[in-house]
Symmetry: none
Subunit: 112 residues, 2 copies
DNA sequence: CAGGAAAGTTAGTCATCGCTTTCGTAAGTG
DNA sequence: CACTTACGAAAGCGATGACTAACTTTCCTG
């Protein structure tokens, strides 16, 4: 079944893919330009892009022969959910939202 | 340098290791009892435990011949930091929750 | 159409990973 | 001391993953 988190997690477990994600976190970029930032071949980057796309972490937009990519931040939500789960702050999303609404001001800091 | 996040990320990318982490999230448990919860051999679980320990996600405490493990939540901090980074530091908490909420209902059955 | 640019696809290689089997080690019991 | 319990360590195996090289596809231009 591969939960969404599973794919997202596998995707960002690869350092190169994290670098790609960071690269297109705040801007759209064509595949070729993305590949230029690394020392691997374009097909390699292309494969990474597909993994990220299938994990719901990237959005692809075509423009002529170019394919523009940018990060899809919502794709990281399942991961955040897992972290929150482990952290013991909440058990499900609805509850977390409720808590956030209730305690926006006193919730900010944790990590202890 | 192998950032701490790198190891933690690789560690939790494995489904079985996540299951182990969940198992000892709120309670200490000896290696043997942990292994009983899975259908792989004890050495296999033992290897997972070591990976998690080296990633800073587990704490080991010896008691006689037993080795008790429990989750070390602070180990997930670097990961959380990465997520926050990707999510955009400028976004405040409420906005983040809202986006996550949108992402959940939006992502349900695509990625195909 | 022909020609070129941008990118994905396929096949095959090498390293890594998760697993099992076998063996070793440390602590408790008689 | 021998014996058992609880566990890790080492070696080897099959599967997966990241990469390269070569090919194909899509789109634009003349």
């Amino acid at each position: 079944m591969t939960e969404p988190m599973d794919e997202a997690l596998r995707a960002i477990a690869e350092p190169r893919r994290r670098a790609i994600l960071r690269l297109v976190a705040n801007q759209e970029m064509p595949a070729g330009r993305i590949a230029e930032h690394f020392e691997v071949t374009r097909p390699a980057v292309s494969q990474h892009l597909q993994v990220l796309k299938e994990a719901g972490l990237l959005i692809e937009r075509r423009e002529g022969t170019k394919r523009l990519y940018r990060a899809r931040r919502e794709g990281l939500a399942p991961l955040r959910q897992f972290l929150d789960e482990m952290w013991g702050e909440s058990l499900d999303f609805a509850r977390r939202i409720a808590e956030a609404e209730r305690g926006l001001s006193d919730h900010r800091s944790q990590a202890g």
